[in-house]
């Protein structure tokens, strides 16, 4: 068993632990990243249902694909890219299932009728503390997930544009314009909310 190197960086330590299926390190990682992973999935999907399954699947995939992580980039960027792919796959499967098999979709011939109904309360409203946050939660609820996602990754996860582009799989220029657009939309919703009240 190789001994840890004194000059080993944190990401290299994580990579080594993952390659060895070190259960203690995995437990530590779950503790450390669980909140951020849940928050990312909530921003991405906008709903609480399926989040636990997605979180668990994400960690299992982290274990099974451990060999792919070499510790050269931040762990959270890799974690979020895995979670993102699983969330999109899950959403796609649920839509395929509902489109193919739901009696409602057959009888109505209406695809939108089969999409899962949001089980509100909104996770953003539940997470809001204070007046500004409540107003912002309402704005986030209306915001397209593709903007919510990049805003979270840039301003709360503090990822660089390059890191976000790797998570999302889009060019840096697209990411930059999405963040600008997302900020603009939040400001508009905010002002709209302020005018409405």
């Amino acid at each position: 068993m190789p001994f840890p190197d004194a000059t080993e960086t944190e990401t290299q330590r994580i990579a080594r632990g993952l390659h060895q299926n070190d259960a203690a390190l995995i437990g530590e990682m779950v503790d450390r990243y669980q909140y951020r992973l849940v928050r990312y999935l909530l921003y991405l999907t906008g709903r609480r249902e399926h989040v636990e399954d997605l979180v668990q699947e994400t960690w299992v995939r982290v274990l099974t694909r451990a060999a792919q992580y070499q510790g050269r980039s931040r762990f959270e960027a890799w974690l979020f890219s895995i979670a993102r792919n699983l969330a999109i796959d899950g959403l796609r499967q649920r839509q395929i299932f509902s489109l193919d098999d739901s009696p409602a979709s057959v009888s109505n011939g209406n695809a939108s009728a089969t999409l899962p109904a949001p089980l509100h309360s909104s996770p953003f409203l539940a997470a809001a503390r204070g007046e500004d946050a409540l107003r912002l939660a309402a704005a986030l609820e209306l915001l397209d997930p593709k903007y919510r996602e990049v805003l979270l990754l840039r301003f709360q996860e503090d990822l660089s544009l390059l890191e976000i582009s790797k998570v999302v799989g889009l060019p840096v220029t697209t990411i930059s314009s999405r963040i600008h657009r997302g900020l603009g939309l939040l400001r508009s919703h905010w002002k709209g909310g302020a005018n409405a009240t």
Partner: protein, 154 residues
């Protein structure tokens, strides 16, 4: 054509947060917002939005956290055991292959030895018979050789 200074200020305000701006642009932006109430309000609103984003506190059920934690660490332990097993497996396969090779070649070797022995015995028997024949022919007393004449039909 000169760009609209307010548009420029708002773009720079956001760009400073998104990717960062040069020192010159920072100086220009500060001097502009110092004198432009609308752009200062724009910057203030953006700042409030980002503070609002950071103030969210999502609750995670402790039970859910425990379930995930247990499931993931169990899986890690199983994968670790499988990994250790797969590390020693090639040696096991080599040992099994060597044993099978020995078991398969032993009867073949024995069979060959047996056939070789039989062939040697056969040659020895032939030689012995030849010698016996030769000995017998020599040992018939001369007085009785007449009895051994061909065509004797008694």
């Amino acid at each position: 054509m000169q760009p609209d200074p307010h548009q420029r200020a708002r773009f720079l305000n956001d760009e400073a947060l998104v990717a960062g701006i040069s020192r010159d642009d920072q100086c220009w932006l500060h001097s502009h917002t110092d004198h432009c109430a609308e752009c200062a309000a724009y910057a203030e609103l953006t700042s409030r939005i980002l503070q609002g984003l950071n103030s969210f506190s999502f609750e995670i059920e402790p039970a859910m956290h425990r379930r995930v934690q247990n499931a993931v660490t169990d899986r890690a332990q199983r994968l670790g055991e499988m990994r250790r097993y797969s590390q020693i497996r090639p040696w096991r396969w080599a040992l099994i292959a060597a044993t099978l090779l020995i078991l398969a070649t032993t009867p073949i070797y024995r069979n060959m030895r047996h056939k070789q022995h039989e062939a040697e015995m056969g040659r020895a028997d032939t030689l012995l018979l030849e010698r016996v024949d030769a000995g017998v022919s020599r040992e018939i007393p001369q007085a009785m050789e007449l009895l051994n004449l061909p065509g004797d039909v008694r």
